[in-house]
C-alpha cells in the first residue's frame, strides 16, 4: 500500500495521455460487460436447471420438420412417462417485424408440464375453454401493455388460414410469471391453442412441431428418450429425443455460436487495447528512464522497479476497466428496465465482474511486461548519463 501513491502519481504523470488511455480501456470493458451479459443470458438458457426432467422430441432430420400427432398416444403409454404435450412454432408478427417474440401453438395441457410458471387455475381453465385463447408472459404483456381480454392480432409468416388470410386474432385469457430471475426471458412467449391452430391452418393439419415429455423419474430420462425414438425407428418420421436443456442449447445455436461470436469480437477489441496501452506504457517508461535510475540509485532493487511498473500497468487497466464495467451494469439495467426480458441480457453480476477483473489483471500484466523488463534491466550509470 505504501507504494500506491508512487504508482498512482506515476500513472498521471502525463494527464492527457493517461485520460485518453483510460477512455480506451473504459470503452473496451464497457463493451465486454454488455457482450458478456448477452453471452451469459444465452448460456443460462442452455444450462437452466429447470426442465431436467423434461424431454423434447423433434424430427431427426430437422427441427423444422413436423411429426404426426398420432405419436402422442404411443409416447403417453411408455413406462416412465408422467405427462406428454406438444407444440408448434407459429412465427407470427405483431404489427411490425421488429416486434419479434416467440409465439407457439400448444396443447391444452401444456402448462401442466411447467409448474415453475405461475398461471392461475382460472386462467388455465380459460385457456382450455377459449378456442382463440392465448396466454403470454408477464414481461411481454408489460412491453405491449396488454391486459386480460385484449385481442392480439398476429400476422402469419408460415401458416396462412384456410381462407387464405394471414391475419390471426387471439383473445388474451392468461398472463404467466416466471419467478426465477435467471429465467425471466421465458416470459417473452405467446402461447395459443393448438386445436384452433390446427383447425384453421391451410396445411400441415394433424402434425405437431415437437413433443414435450415429463418423466416420472429423472434417472429414467435416457431410457424414456430411447423408447420414444424407438417408436418411430425406420419410419419416415424418425425422431430425436433429448433433454430440454440440450434442446435449448441446440435452439440457441441456430442464431450462431454466441460464445464464439462474443469471443471473436472481444478478442479483436482486447488485441487493439493491448497494442494501444502497450505503446502508452512503453512511452511512459522511456520518458522516465532517469527517474527509474534515481529509484534504483536510492536502493530500489531491480525486482522492486519491475513490480512498480507492472503495478502501474495493472492499475491503469483495472481503473479504466472497473469504470467500464460499472457503466455496463448501468446500461444493462437500463436496457432491461426499458425492454424487459425480450433482449437476452443478464445483470452484470459477480461472475461477469470476476471474469472482467481477471482479464484486466491479465491485460495489465501483458502490456506492462516489456516496459517493466526494460525498467528492471536499465543500468543506473547509463540511465543517469542519458545513454
Amino acid at each position: 500500500m505504501k507504494y500506491l501513491q508512487l504508482v498512482w502519481s506515476a500513472m498521471f504523470r502525463r494527464k492527457t495521455r493517461t485520460v485518453f488511455t483510460l477512455l480506451s480501456v473504459l470503452a473496451a470493458f464497457l463493451l465486454f460487460g454488455l457482450l458478456d451479459s448477452v453471452r451469459s443470458a444465452f448460456a443460462n438458457a442452455a444450462s437452466s436447471v429447470a426442465g431436467v426432467d423434461r424431454l423434447v422430441t423433434v424430427s431427426k432430420i430437422s427441427f423444422t420438420m413436423s411429426l404426426p400427432k398420432s405419436l402422442l398416444s404411443g409416447i403417453a403409454a411408455l413406462p416412465g412417462v408422467a405427462k406428454v404435450t406438444y407444440a408448434n412454432w407459429f412465427g407470427g408478427i405483431y404489427q411490425d417485424p421488429k416486434n419479434f417474440f416467440a409465439n407457439e401453438a400448444v396443447a391444452d395441457n401444456f402448462f401442466d408440464l411447467y409448474p415453475e410458471w405461475q398461471l392461475s387455475q382460472a386462467e388455465r381453465t380459460a385457456f382450455r375453454t377459449t378456442r382463440t385463447g392465448a396466454v403470454v408472459g408477464e414481461s411481454l404483456a408489460k412491453k405491449y401493455n396488454w391486459k386480460l381480454g385484449d385481442k392480439i392480432p398476429l400476422q402469419a409468416t408460415i401458416f396462412p388460414q384456410k381462407n387464405g388470410g394471414n391475419a390471426w386474432t387471439f383473445d388474451l385469457v392468461g398472463i404467466y410469471r416466471v419467478s426465477n430471475p435467471k429465467q425471466k426471458n421465458q416470459e417473452s412467449i405467446l402461447f395459443f391453442n393448438w386445436d384452433y391452430f390446427d383447425e384453421a391452418r391451410a396445411f400441415g393439419n394433424g402434425n405437431v412441431g415437437w413433443y414435450i415429455t415429463q418423466v416420472s423419474d429423472r434417472k429414467l430420462a435416457q431410457q424414456v428418450a430411447d423408447a420414444i425414438d424407438a417408436l418411430s425407428a425406420n419410419s419416415d418420421h424418425e425422431t430425436k429425443t433429448q433433454t430440454e436443456q440440450a434442446f435449448n442449447a441446440a435452439f440457441v445455436s441456430q442464431y450462431g455460436d454466441i460464445g464464439l461470436i462474443v469471443g471473436a469480437i472481444m478478442g479483436a477489441v482486447f488485441f487493439t487495447l493491448i497494442l494501444l496501452t502497450g505503446n502508452t506504457m512503453a512511452q511512459a517508461v522511456r520518458e522516465r528512464v532517469p527517474e527509474l535510475a534515481v529509484l534504483k540509485t536510492i536502493g530500489f532493487s531491480n525486482h522492486s522497479v519491475l513490480a512498480l511498473l507492472l503495478a502501474e500497468s495493472v492499475l491503469l487497466i483495472v481503473f479504466g476497466g472497473a469504470i467500464g464495467l460499472l457503466l455496463a451494469g448501468v446500461v444493462v439495467d437500463a436496457v432491461r428496465a426499458a425492454v424487459g426480458e425480450t433482449v437476452p441480457m443478464t445483470r452484470v453480476g459477480a461472475a461477469i465482474w470476476l471474469r472482467g477483473v481477471g482479464l484486466m489483471v491479465l491485460i495489465g500484466l501483458i502490456v506492462g511486461a516489456l516496459p517493466a523488463r526494460r525498467g528492471m534491466r536499465l543500468r543506473i550509470v547509463d540511465a543517469l548519463a542519458g545513454r
Binding site: 505504501k2 507504494y3 501513491q5 508512487l6 502519481s9 506515476a10 498521471f12 504523470r13 532517469p290 527517474e291 535510475a293 534515481v294 529509484l295 534504483k296 540509485t297 536510492i298 536502493g299 530500489f300 532493487s301 531491480n302 525486482h303 522492486s304 543506473i380 550509470v381 543517469l384
Partner: protein, 231 residues
C-alpha cells in the same frame, strides 16, 4: 583512525565495441570518516566513475572498495541496492527529483524501503526538510521550486535515511553563484554538525574550497591532494 572508504588498486575499463577504455587506473585511496572531500579534474579524468564506484552504482573491473568494513565490490546487485539504501545518500547535478511528487514525497522515497510507518516516514521527511530550510515548501512540487530549492530537497532526500556517506556529483553545476554557496554551506554544515562523510565531484575551484580536502584526478589516476586552509 581507520578509513571509512578504502580503495585498493581500483581499475575500471569500459568496452566500446572492440575498443577498451581504461577510465580508472590502479587507484589507491583512503577517505576518513567525517571527511569532506572534493574530487576535481578535467572532463574524462574519471571523477564521476570513481564516485559511482564508491556509491555502489557501478562495479570495478579490478581492485577492491571497502566501505565501513564491507567489500561492496563483492556484493550482488540486489545486495548492493540494499546497501545503498541504508549507507549512501546521492546528490546529482540536475537534482533528479520525481516531478509528479511533492517535496515531502520526494524526500520520503528512500524511507519506503524501510519498515517505518507512514506517520514516522512523514515525520522524518519533515525533519529533513526542516534541516535544509524548506519546511514551508513541503507540499510544493519540484516545478514550483527554484533550482537551489530543488537541490536542497535532493539533499534532504539524501540524508533522510541517515546514511554515513554522501556522494555529490557536481551539486552546484546547475546553480547560480548564490544558490551554489547556500547548497555548499549546507553540505559543510551536514559534514561539520552531523558528521556526514561527503565526497563531492566538482569542476569549480570555488566549490572545492568548501571541502576539507581536494583530490585531483587526471587520466584515471590520482595526481595530487591538497588540504584546505582551516576556516
Amino acid at each position: 583512525m581507520s578509513a571509512l572508504v578504502e580503495i585498493r588498486n581500483l581499475s575500471k575499463i569500459y568496452e566500446r565495441g572492440k575498443q577498451k577504455i581504461e577510465v580508472l587506473h590502479h587507484v589507491q585511496l583512503d577517505i576518513e570518516a567525517g571527511d569532506f572531500m572534493a574530487l576535481m579534474g578535467p572532463s574524462g579524468s574519471g571523477k564521476t566513475t570513481l564516485l559511482n564506484l564508491i556509491g555502489g552504482l557501478d562495479s570495478p573491473t579490478d581492485g577492491s572498495i571497502t566501505i565501513g568494513g564491507q567489500r561492496i565490490d563483492r556484493l550482488s546487485e540486489s545486495a548492493l541496492a540494499k546497501w545503498r539504501s541504508s549507507h549512501v545518500g546521492f546528490v546529482f547535478q540536475f537534482y533528479n527529483l520525481l516531478p509528479m511528487l511533492s517535496a515531502r514525497r520526494n524526500v520520503e522515497l528512500p524511507l519506503l524501503l524501510t519498515r517505518l510507518s507512514a506517520a514516522q516516514r512523514k515525520r522524518n521527511a519533515a525533519v529533513a526538510l526542516q534541516l535544509v530550510g524548506l519546511a514551508d515548501r513541503a507540499a510544493h512540487k519540484p516545478g514550483e521550486l527554484s533550482g537551489g530549492q530543488q537541490q536542497r530537497v535532493a539533499i534532504a532526500r539524501a540524508i533522510v535515511s541517515d546514511p554515513t556517506l554522501l556522494v555529490c556529483d557536481e551539486p552546484t553545476g546547475d546553480l547560480d553563484r548564490q544558490s551554489a554557496a547556500e547548497v555548499l554551506t549546507l553540505l559543510q554544515q551536514l559534514n561539520r554538525d552531523h558528521g556526514k562523510t561527503i565526497i563531492m565531484v566538482t569542476h569549480d575551484p570555488k566549490a572545492a574550497e568548501f571541502a576539507k580536502h581536494t583530490l585531483q584526478l587526471d587520466k584515471g589516476s590520482l595526481v595530487a591532494s591538497a588540504q584546505a586552509a582551516p576556516a
